[in-house]
Symmetry: D2
Subunit: 132 residues, 4 copies
């Protein structure tokens, strides 16, 4: 399984009066990156329900992001704990690293909605992702 990457074309309304993309829009892009990553993972792991909550978010703004040039967001690492999944993401614009993000998600039991151990089948998929 190759690394999960997606192209984000900055939208004009995502800029702010400082003339660059606002930090809250970048937090929103990070959600797009990790949700599409999880969707691609789950699509190849039948029977794993999509029950996740976001526990924490860390974003480093390495350089400004601007309107007018596509951004490539790549999930660079995804590490499973017991019920948690730590997803790392990098965003590049014009080949330059602009954003590095880390999100911690918690896997919930589909019925009880309580944290529950990430199933083995998903762990195997994650191991395959991280070989790249």
């Amino acid at each position: 399984m190759p690394r999960h990457s997606l192209t984000i074309t900055p939208r004009f309304y995502e800029t702010d009066a400082l003339g660059h993309i606002n930090n809250a829009s970048i937090a929103a892009w990070f959600e797009v990156a990790r949700i599409t990553f999880l969707e691609s993972l789950l699509a190849s792991t039948p029977g794993i329900a999509p029950n996740w909550v976001l526990a924490s978010l860390k974003i480093d703004f390495i350089a400004e992001t601007f309107y007018g040039t596509d951004v490539i967001a790549t999930v660079t690492d995804a590490t499973a704990g017991n019920s948690s999944l730590t997803v790392c993401c990098e965003m590049l614009q014009g080949g330059k690293l602009t954003v590095r993000g880390t999100a911690v998600l918690v896997h919930l039991d589909a019925v009880t909605k309580q944290p529950s151990r990430i199933p083995e089948s998903l762990r195997e998929r994650l191991a395959a992702v991280n070989q790249y």
Copy 2:
């Protein structure tokens, strides 16, 4: 019942690179104005379920809206058709008219989710609002 007004303090992330509030943020503010209007109306009309869908939206941008000064959004008219409710809103910033909006909402039956006649009790409340 007095006119429904609310104060919106523009947020920095609602600006765009043109240095003013982006039009999509103003569409979002209009939702705040009409939902809080409906909530205030329904709060005084027990038994009317909050089942509305937005059928159309019209916004005239009379003047630019800027960061740094509060906006007053007022529902200036609310007229019931059979199942539709047309809500008009004006926004002023620093006493100057900046936005005029009209939204058409459709009242749905709580069970069938089909358009259904706006109940008499709500019509009476609307009539009271429009006396102002």
Copy 3:
């Protein structure tokens, strides 16, 4: 020149608690459609500065838009008045018409920032667009 179309992949954060895409997100998508339309037009019309303000916005919500299926937004008409440009857009999801929008933009003089007649070179480009 072919019709201007773009594909919008709905993002999870663009949904609201009613389980569909929120109307303010659709207003934002409409901005993406008309700005990329104008950019494509101006790219082929050297010397026309990108000086436009949004005068009004009208959106009809024909059907709900959901997360999980791409939306195709197409500029179906663009008609120049003296200084105004009326841009019509349709959005389809899974082949079904969900949104119809009309925006009126005003062309500003690059220096005075006052409304100014849309240049002939741009009118010719618009005529070519509307033949489709």
Copy 4:
């Protein structure tokens, strides 16, 4: 100087299809909290230009935030390094801690736009804030 607090009334469009406030909206609220904090600080410190960039953002989602109940966002700490300012914020909804955020801002020289030492006058204001 008392602690900086502000009341945020959740807006319906800030919810997502999971029925709670989306994490990107909470990142946006955090911007409101720290910008209004800085504005209040600078208002009482004449001559300090508002030149800050966001270097990093960390948000812990302690509990879900819902539509329908006000959120109180409080800046709980603000510590100056050389050119950096670390701002901590807590959000409570209905008296319950829901969000804890930390942002690192960098003070820029108004002319060179390079990181520059936070002026003494602002450090004194910060010291006063942190006594609470």
